[in-house]
């Protein structure tokens, strides 16, 4: 095993190093995916390029209504950022269920999306926020919607020599609520059986206007569920409406059987979590309204 370790001090250097090292090189940030994968497969990248010394990629910046999360922002930073409230609460809920403190202290948002695990917990939430990914390469920067960035299991559109520098999204409308739900056998240290995220906005007429719903671990990649969203828009989340939404969601997913759960259990959870994610998001809008009227 002969691994070359490079430590660029600037983004330009990182891009140039990756360009010249070619496909056998890998970027490392927190390392919690890369090191485990290398050790398990017995194949280490020929070159490891450390991104952790790059300046300016470790911050969460609000430029209302937009949010910019540097690629080196850790899960711990996201879960402990009290600014993520209301329609952004789901982001914290998804960041705080990944691994233990030890992993969340180092694992980054950039690494999480580049690793493109079908069960990556933050992805459904980021999809609901219509997140975009900025990639910097030798020809300059490009911005790609997250839903296009991830092509399939462990596959993204990132080219050799491109560095993900940030994830950005716009905060949803004021009267919105969000929720993230994760299914596993226990609460800690689980890889999701099904993960569900929702962002729901309420209109002046008391119905759901903007509905966003995304599911992870129920197919080759995390996806939005546009049929369910369309069905729910303009309605109030009554019991029967939620039942129907759950059934619609099940017909949109393509889960597999694996060691963690059967495909049929994943379908069952998809229905249950669709109902709960919408209902919870909705109730959180109402709570917000109550708080305001009380104040």
């Amino acid at each position: 095993m002969d691994v070359v370790f490079l430590e660029p001090q600037s983004l330009e250097d990182a891009i140039a190093m990756a360009q010249s090292a070619g496909p056998s090189a890998k970027f490392i940030a927190g390392g919690t995916d890369l090191i485990i994968q290398a050790r398990k497969s017995g194949t280490w990248p020929k070159t490891i390029i450390n991104l952790q010394r790059l300046p300016g990629l470790g911050e969460i910046v609000e430029a209302a209504p937009n949010w910019h999360l540097g690629a080196l922002v850790t899960h711990r930073q996201i879960e402990s950022d009290a600014r993520f409230l209301g329609s952004l609460l789901a982001l914290r809920e998804s960041a705080c269920v990944i691994g233990g403190h030890q992993v969340r202290n180092v694992a980054t948002i950039g690494g999480n999306i580049c690793n493109a695990s079908p069960a990556a917990d933050m992805l459904p939430v980021l999809l609901c926020l219509n997140a975009k990914v900025t990639l910097a390469g030798v020809a300059g920067a490009r911005v790609v919607p997250l839903c296009e960035f991830i092509e399939g299991p462990r596959k993204t559109v990132r080219a050799i020599g491109e560095v993900v520098t940030q994830v950005q999204f716009a905060a949803p409308a004021a009267r919105s609520g969000s929720a993230f739900l994760k299914g596993g056998r226990r609460r800690a240290m689980e890889i999701s059986i099904v993960a569900m995220a929702a962002v729901v906005s309420a209109g002046a007429d008391g119905t759901m206007t903007d509905v966003r719903l995304a599911v992870g671990a129920a197919g080759p990649k995390a996806i939005r569920l546009p049929e369910v969203e369309k069905f729910l828009e303009g309605k109030v989340p009554s019991k029967s409406v939620l039942q129907e939404a759950g059934a619609l969601a099940v017909s949109a997913v393509s889960p597999i059987d694996d060691v963690r759960a059967s495909a049929s259990f994943r379908r069952h959870l998809t229905a249950v979590y669709t109902r709960r994610a919408i209902e919870t998001s909705w109730n959180r809008i109402v709570e917000l309204g109550n708080d305001r009227s009380a104040a």
Binding site: D2, V4, G31, I36, A38, I48, G100, H101, Q102, V106
Partner: protein, 162 residues
């Protein structure tokens, strides 16, 4: 073998080493520095037994490249006691009977150390959440949580003294 220079502060002592590029922090602590208090177990950041404190944060030393730690500071279980005086966390673990086979305890104590440094007076639930990534297969956790609660009280009382 390609080696990289590593300037590492471990428990207040500075080491200048040359290590393989793919060596983990755990490899270096145990094999190069012979500080074997930090235990090896799952090697996939699932069990937390190899936890050390890196620049004030708990990390699984099995999934951190040593090369990424250049110029940084590590505290391991060996760095907690002052001479013969155990750290309040270590004392509390002994008193509360929180140690059975003992294998997870260095990692458990270092997980608790980083957590209490940031959250001096946590609730019991917060402690349970904080140690969720550190597995003990003996005790069922009750006494471990008891010990961390006791240590948190003593540490914050110490902090309040003039």
């Amino acid at each position: 073998m390609t080696e990289v220079p590593l300037d590492l502060n471990v428990n207040g002592r500075r080491y200048r080493l040359s290590v393989p590029a793919h060596a983990t922090l755990l490899d270096v602590l145990r094999d190069e520095l012979e500080q074997t208090g930090t235990k090896t177990n799952c090697l996939e950041a699932e069990c937390g037994v190899c936890t050390v404190v890196l620049d004030g944060k708990s990390v699984a030393s099995c999934t951190v490249l040593a090369a990424q730690c250049n110029g940084r500071s590590v505290t391991t279980i060996e760095g907690l006691a002052e001479g013969q005086n155990l750290h309040p966390l270590q004392e509390a673990f002994v008193e509360m009977g929180a140690v059975q086979c003992g294998y997870c305890i260095p990692g458990m104590i270092m997980t608790a150390k980083a957590f209490l440094d940031e959250n001096p007076r946590p609730t019991r639930d917060a402690v349970r959440e904080a140690i969720a990534g550190t597995l003990c297969r003996c005790t069922g956790y009750s006494k471990i949580v008891d010990a961390i609660m006791v240590a948190s009280q003593r540490l914050s009382q110490q902090g309040e003294r003039p």
